[in-house]
């Protein structure tokens, strides 16, 4: 058995930022476990620019953003272990990890930060009818093959899903010499940034078909074509709207799912909306000493927010280890539930413990639909305490409200905070 104070599972943007913050909070004995051969996670393949405006006040590519944090980790001499996969974690915080270099090891930690990220929704989970030939890739798999391995995955491409990864890959494939025939989106709006629609599609005359989906895949060995159809408000295909596109590749950019198999093994309670664990204001799951941050907690829109959230997890985990005794001895704590309603899908965190709450708490959430002229309202036990008007709200963008400890202290018996959207008259 190997012992460490803090073990961070995942060396992507969340894990790196958590490690830096934990170290800067005075914790020394930290280990980052990463399954890839480099740190940086998915940023290594996100070679486009647009990262870091909040964190570094400049526009960076994914690998550059990662390199800034990797440099901090190295400078702070935080140990990390590459090419290592965590097989199991239990409630006693014993981590089973395997690698070629070190074999099978068990590490016992005082605290763990889960930062495993997310995965893409595959074709099978989308129930796209048709054949199952080669040439169907999730956008991220194609991105890795093209940007890191240096392989071209296809020549004539159709993309389903207009989230940012789908849009970015439309441009990327075009620049590498492929013909992207169309990007189809099931919803009546794109989940991607306007900038990406303009610069990844419009710049190259790639049509975007909203309220469309793939209803058939052709090709016994390799994709030979797909059929698109328009969908109605029920998202079911409308007969008579079918259009055939010949192509050799179908890229799927249809949503990300937090990768929480280890979290479930530990027995932490899960939130069915985020597919991530339930956490309190310290980003601690309901298994004491196990924290979560980044896309494993909920899928973020900007890496900058991942870094910010992860830093909080790192700081809290460090405090938990340093003050373990004090925390468990805590006399009484008021637990306030956070509730999302009326157009707000979820909140992270889902609860606040007043005794340990920081002076300022950022609550993040997403909305359920594209809303114009609504306000985001916060209620304390039924009483509205804030209202912020928003000209536009979109599911693709994460929203946030900041709660102040001082304002909560005015309501000592507070049980529930509701965050909801309200229409502006």
């Amino acid at each position: 058995m190997i012992y460490h104070d803090l073990v961070i599972i995942g060396g992507g943007p969340a894990g790196l930022s958590a490690a830096v913050a934990a170290k800067e909070s005075g914790l020394d004995d930290i280990l980052i476990i990463e399954r890839d051969y480099v740190l940086g996670g998915i940023l290594n393949q996100c070679i486009h620019n647009g990262f870091g405006l909040h964190t570094f006040k400049e526009e960076l590519t994914g690998p550059e953003y990662a390199s800034r944090y990797i440099a901090m980790v190295k400078q702070l001499e935080i140990p990390y272990q590459l090419n290592s996969t965590v097989l199991d974690i239990n409630k006693e915080k014993e981590i089973t990890v395997v690698s070629s270099e070190n074999g099978l090891e068990t590490i016992k930690a005082k605290a763990i930060i889960l930062a495993m990220g997310c995965r893409e929704r595959p074709r099978g989970a989308l129930n796209i009818p048709g054949l199952r030939p080669a040439g169907i890739y999730t956008a991220g798999t194609a991105q890795r093959l093209v940007n890191i391995e240096g392989h071209m995955v296809g020549k004539e491409v159709v993309i389903l899903g207009s989230g940012d990864i789908g849009l970015i890959m439309a441009r990327r494939m075009t620049l590498e010499g492929a013909k992207v025939k169309v990007v189809a989106e099931l919803m009546p709006y794109s989940g991607g940034l306007k900038r990406n629609i303009v610069q990844c599609l419009n710049d190259f005359d790639i049509p975007l078909k909203l309220s469309h989906t793939v209803i058939n895949i052709d090709g016994k060995k390799r994709v030979t074509g797909i059929t698109l159809a328009e969908v109605g408000p029920d998202r079911k295909p409308i007969p008579g709207t079918e259009e055939y596109y010949s192509c050799d590749t179908l890229l799927l950019s249809c949503g990300l799912i937090p990768e929480n198999e280890l979290t479930k093994q530990i027995g932490a309670s899960m939130n069915p909306v985020t597919s991530g664990p339930m956490v309190n204001d310290r980003l601690e799951t309901d298994v004491e000493g196990i924290f979560a941050c980044g896309n494993v907690l909920h899928v973020h829109d900007l890496v900058d927010y991942v870094s910010e959230e992860a830093a909080l997890a790192g700081k809290n985990a460090a405090e938990y280890i340093v003050n373990e005794k004090a925390m468990t001895d805590e006399k009484e704590t008021n637990v306030i539930k956070l509730k999302a309603e009326n157009g707000v899908c979820y909140t992270v965190p889902q609860s606040i413990e007043t005794s340990t709450m920081a002076d300022k708490l950022t609550v993040r959430f997403r909305v359920a639909d594209v809303f114009e002229n609504r306000s985001i309202c916060v209620y304390y036990d039924g009483k509205r305490i804030s209202k912020k008007k928003k000209r536009v709200l979109a599911p693709g963008e994460m929203e946030q409200v900041v709660l102040l400890k001082t304002s909560l202290e005015e309501y000592p018996d507070l049980k529930e905070i509701v965050i909801r959207t309200e229409e502006e008259s």
């Binding site: 395997v98 070629s100 070190n102 893409e120 129930n127 199952r132 030939p133 071209m152 013909k179 060995k221």
Partner: protein, 484 residues
């Protein structure tokens, strides 16, 4: 490769062909198996329910009934000999309506007539005690403790490897185009040369009619009957523990809900007759039909956890039974045709039966060197901590996890590629070690597996395939789309 000479030419590397190959390798004879796809287990054998039927379903006296019970009895011992996954998880046939009770009792009687042991009829409450997720609509069920589940890839590949180790030669990507009768046997023309043989075994699955009709005037007609399935995540795998069928009633033939040997939940199949012999599409209608029917049996199925859907083609022969042995007008040509459900269960017994028939005809002597044992691929996930530690120490490649959903190591993938009849495609690896069969459906591991396959086989990257020529995964570099 222009001309090959053998005693027995087996056409088809599905579960039946591989079973016959293995059983025939117990005799001294020269056996060749030809398969038109790039690997064994590439047709009907790869896409089915994976059920080891108890044997109450088939009409007493039919070949299906006889071989079902024999095959079921043989499966456990075979799974130990050949190291593939099999579990006797019991099966039940649910009855939803009082008017159908006589039909349920008839099924019990039929099972007893077929020689199925330990059958009983349970009340609705007894059923729900065993299977708490069965719906309240269920009023009774036929219970068959001998029912089981098997990995169809595991079974087929194990028999193929063992046959190969015992001397059977396998030729892939080899499609029989014509067969000619000679004085003392047959000449089969393929896309890869000529095979001169004394005997032919026709185990060509949905194509068995085409092969049969090349030599016989007593024509066969095999209708590909497509069945669609849904596969759910392992998290859903304990939703039922036994295989749950539905008694055919006024709602038509039902679907089954079953755990798989690997712990997923499998639901299906539909049944749609078609003419195309390799159009394995899934449809929106099929998906809806499966969901509606399955919910009649089992409540709260987490359809959100579907990780993939697939379809397979059953070889339905118009005569509604297996067609086994020599047609009257084609001596030395042995059919194993029309092998639809419960064909997978029957395969071990069918192989033995046909091999004995061919061996008798050819007066082959017993091969005393026959080795019945085959060792499967070591699965790191199944080992104890101590065994894992030791293995990784000796073979570090078992410490590198490639498929993170199923925790498949590089060592397992290399074993799948380098062993007897090793995988040559991504699907071949998947069927051997389950790489890419998990929830991400190969999203993360495809780039790495492609590299390992290329490294181990020397196949250039741009020729690495999903499942044979034409299914290349990557395009050659430097391609520029012609904008004109």
């Amino acid at each position: 490769m222009d001309k090959q000479i053998c005693d027995v030419l087996i056409i088809g590397g599905g579960v039946v062909g591989c079973s016959i190959a293995r059983e025939l390798s117990k005799y001294h004879c020269n056996i060749i198996l030809v398969e038109k796809e790039e690997d064994v287990c590439s047709g009907t054998s790869k896409a089915n329910s994976g059920i080891v039927h108890a044997g109450y379903d088939a009409k007493p006296g039919s070949l299906k009934a006889e071989f079902n019970v024999k095959g079921n009895a043989r499966m456990e011992e075979l799974s130990k000999e050949l190291d593939f996954e099999f579990k006797r998880n019991a099966s039940m046939v649910l009855c939803f309506d009082l008017v159908d009770l006589p039909a349920l009792e008839a099924l019990l009687e039929r099972g007893r007539a077929n020689g199925v042991s330990d059958l009983s009829i349970l009340s609705g409450d007894e059923v729900r005690r065993l299977e708490p997720n069965v719906t309240d609509e269920v009023i009774a069920a036929l219970y068959a403790p001998t029912g089981g589940i098997v990995c169809p890839f595991g079974l087929t590949i194990a028999m193929a490897e063992n046959a190969c180790d015992n001397g059977v030669k396998f030729y892939f990507n080899t499609e029989v185009l014509a067969i000619e009768k000679t004085n003392d046997g047959y000449i089969a023309e393929t896309n890869c040369g000529t095979y001169v043989t004394k005997y032919i075994v026709n185990a060509a699955g949905v194509y068995a009619d085409k092969i049969h009709n090349m030599v016989s005037e007593v024509k066969l007609n095999i209708i590909p009957r497509r069945g669609e399935y849904l596969l759910l995540e392992k998290e859903a795998g304990k939703h039922v523990s036994s295989t749950v069928f539905q008694l055919p009633g006024k709602y038509g033939k039902g679907v089954l809900v079953t755990p798989t040997v690997h712990g997923n939940l499998l639901i299906g199949p539909t049944a749609m007759d078609q003419t195309d012999k390799d159009l394995t599409i899934t449809t929106a209608e099929g998906y809806d039909e499966i969901c509606v029917k399955a919910e009649k049996s089992v409540k709260d199925i987490p359809f959100r956890q579907v990780i993939t859907s697939f379809s397979g083609l059953r070889s339905h022969e118009s005569g509604n039974d297996f067609v086994l042995g020599e047609p009257k007008d084609a001596e030395g040509f042995f059919d194993a045709a029309g092998i639809e459900s419960p064909g997978l269960t029957c395969a071990p017994a069918l192989g033995k039966y046909l091999a004995e028939m061919v061996a008798k005809k050819g007066r082959f002597e017993e091969n005393t060197d026959f080795n019945p044992r085959r060792k499967g691929i070591t699965r790191v996930a199944d080992l104890s901590m101590e065994e894992k530690r030791k293995l990784i120490q000796e073979r570090p490649e078992y410490g590198t996890i490639v498929c993170r959903c199923e925790n498949i190591s590089e060592g397992e993938i290399v074993d799948a590629i380098t062993r007897t009849l090793g995988a040559r495609s991504l699907d071949g690896i998947k069927r051997r070690v389950r790489q890419g069969m998990g929830r991400c459906q190969a999203g993360f591991c495809t780039p790495r597996t492609v590299n390992i396959l290329a490294r181990e086989t020397g196949i250039p990257l741009e020729r690495i395939c999903k499942n044979g020529t034409g299914s290349e995964l990557l395009k050659e570099e430097g391609y520029e789309y012609d904008l004109s």
